[in-house]
């Protein structure tokens, strides 16, 4: 019963394939894997936008959307229908392209953004036996495809012939490149200890429980540090607050997609959210045990449910962060990446190695690794905080 529930979709797919001639099966199976994926995450995108607006509203002590229900009926979902009119609006709005803009590139940019983002989902194990393609170098695939996003950002920024867009694009590229390094480095720790780039292997390596706790990597010293760094870098990679300089409304109107409107704008929006989901999904796969259940007595819950739950939890965390933290300045952003994140990530790499070589020494390696992380953290923080006197600022022209 539990098993069948867990494997429901897999079995469904095989059952459907059964009706087809041999020749068609590969193609159809690909389609049958891709379409639901896109549909599910597209829907998730729609829901999350509403959740974000409502959540931000609550955080900022206002209601947020709470009227709209399903149009043409009088069903009111406490505003959860909001995304429908939003979507319709986005689709039917006029698509304005500046005259000076480089038409072709301007048109291609959102597409180039969306395609790699969708590709990244190919390697995410969203449930037991539910990986579209299980590449031997899956994680590498994820990162390499993700790298194409920067190109699209540049295309968008440059092609629309608008200094805000260009500034936003430059900021965005610089930020993405800078934060890609700690992102990859913190992922490398996991890869190093699992000894494989295959996402399914990585999930499998975190199976099982010890003393009622799951063997997730986040529950080890290096894993915890790596996870935190991964989250921060993920925030920056998906241009979320407090790292949303590329589209800082207050300075650059909307950064590199200032000149976009209508459907293209919607595509950008979609692409950004899907990218965020994808990178969170990778984080779950690497550190949070993928689709494994957190407690032994909950293993009967289907795996994909766990994946989605973790995903949503982290998404809400992101929303919370966005509602809480102020935006960084460009130089702060950069120095944070290069002076703090990257050194810490490198140290974490070493710590992971130490963890590996101290295997079998019981509690000793916990203490040693924890110290090896905490010590540099404190020292580095101190070092960076030197000659920075934090405190009450006095503004010359205020009050």
């Amino acid at each position: 019963m539990v098993e069948s529930l867990d494997q429901l979709f897999v079995n469904l797919k095989h059952w459907a394939l059964g009706f087809l001639p041999e020749a068609l099966q590969p193609l159809v199976s690909a389609v049958l894997s891709i379409v639901p994926l896109v549909a599910v995450f597209g829907g998730l995108f729609a829901i999350v936008t509403i959740f974000e607006r409502k959540g931000l509203g609550r955080i900022q002590n206002r209601y947020g959307p709470n009227r709209v229900g399903i149009p043409f009926t009088d069903i009111r979902l406490a505003g959860f229908g909001q995304f429908i009119p939003d979507g319709i609006k986005a689709l039917i709005k006029e698509d304005v392209v500046p005259r000076a803009a480089d038409k072709v590139v301007h048109f291609l940019a959102p597409v180039v953004l969306l395609i790699p983002v969708l590709l990244t989902y190919a390697v995410l194990p969203i449930g037991r036996n539910m990986t579209v393609v299980d590449f031997d170098a899956g994680v590498l695939f994820f990162f390499s495809v993700g790298a194409a996003v920067e190109i699209s950002v540049f295309m968008a920024g440059w092609s629309s012939r608008n200094k805000y867009s260009l500034l936003g694009a430059m900021r965005g590229i610089a930020q993405m490149i800078s934060y890609e390094i700690p992102l990859i480095l913190s992922a490398v720790t996991v890869i190093m200890l699992v000894g494989s780039l295959k996402t399914s292997d990585i999930v499998a390596a975190q199976a099982g429980f010890t003393a009622g706790l799951p063997n997730w990597f986040v529950l080890t010293p290096w894993g915890f540090a790596g996870f935190v760094m991964f989250l921060i870098a993920a925030l920056a990679e998906s241009n979320r607050a407090p790292f949303d300089l590329p589209e800082a409304e207050s300075e650059l109107i909307a950064g590199y997609f200032t000149e976009y409107s209508g459907f293209k704008f919607a595509l950008f929006f979609l692409g950004e959210y899907l990218g965020m989901f994808a990178i969170i999904g990778l984080g779950i796969t690497l550190f949070l045990g993928g689709w494994h259940a957190p407690f032994p007595f909950l293993t009967w819950v289907p795996s994909y449910v766990w994946f989605m739950t973790k995903l949503l939890a982290i998404v809400f965390f992101f929303i919370w962060v966005r509602g809480t933290l102020p935006r960084l300045r460009m130089d702060q952003l950069m120095s944070f990446a290069w002076k703090f994140m990257i050194p810490m990530a490198l140290i974490n790499l070493v710590v992971a190695a130490v963890w590996h070589f101290m295997a079998g020494t019981g509690a000793a390696r916990w203490v040693v690794c924890a110290l090896l992380i905490a010590g540099p953290y404190v020292l580095l923080g101190r070092g960076l905080m030197e000659n920075k006197h934090l405190g009450k600022r006095t503004y010359r022209f205020a009050d």
Binding site: D136, A137, A147, F154, S196
Partner: protein, 166 residues
């Protein structure tokens, strides 16, 4: 000659031609990106998965971005209104064609190429890692050193020194 190969080859070649023939540098760099992608696809065709992904990561993720930055920093992002071809470009084309002729001749004439296609070799990431960590560890270290040196050198070269900046 699988169709996939033909398609990829076509894409690669066309984008490569585009990459050197557009007037606008940014277009050139963008079509260069397509070329890199096509090459990555060819690597996948050749069962070199790891290298293919590495190609995308390095070339599209780093080199292309670098080139774009260089274009913007050297203010050559706009379509030039003067001649884009170096004087004597015809000679250049001729030389290139001759080079291709010679290469093609060599390829087609050589008997060294075996007619039989061996079974697809498999190069898992694990094998590559083992090779890098054991047999090729010294080259790996040297590469690391070289990259560091190149990084420092690039920074120093591109650094605007105060005398010049004024």
């Amino acid at each position: 000659m699988s169709p996939v190969f033909l398609i990829l080859a076509l894409v690669t070649l066309l984008s490569a031609v585009a990459a050197i023939s557009f007037r606008n540098l940014v277009h050139c760099s963008l079509s260069l990106v397509v070329t890199f992608a096509g090459l990555a696809g060819l690597y996948l065709q050749l069962h070199a998965q790891f290298v293919g992904f590495a190609q995308v990561l390095v070339y599209i993720g780093a080199v292309a971005i670098l080139i774009v930055f260089a274009i913007l920093l050297t203010r050559s992002a706009d379509t030039p209104n003067h001649a884009v071809l170096a004087p004597g470009w015809l000679v250049g084309i001729a030389v290139a064609v001759v080079v291709f002729g010679a290469l093609g001749l060599a390829i087609l004439k050589s008997e060294a190429i075996s007619k039989k296609v061996p079974a697809a070799p498999e190069a898992t990431v694990k094998q590559i890692g083992d090779a890098l960590m054991n047999q090729y560890v010294l080259p790996l270290e040297v590469i690391g050193l070289l990259l560091t040196a190149a990084m420092i050198g690039a920074v120093i070269i591109a650094m605007r020194d105060d005398k010049e900046a004024k």
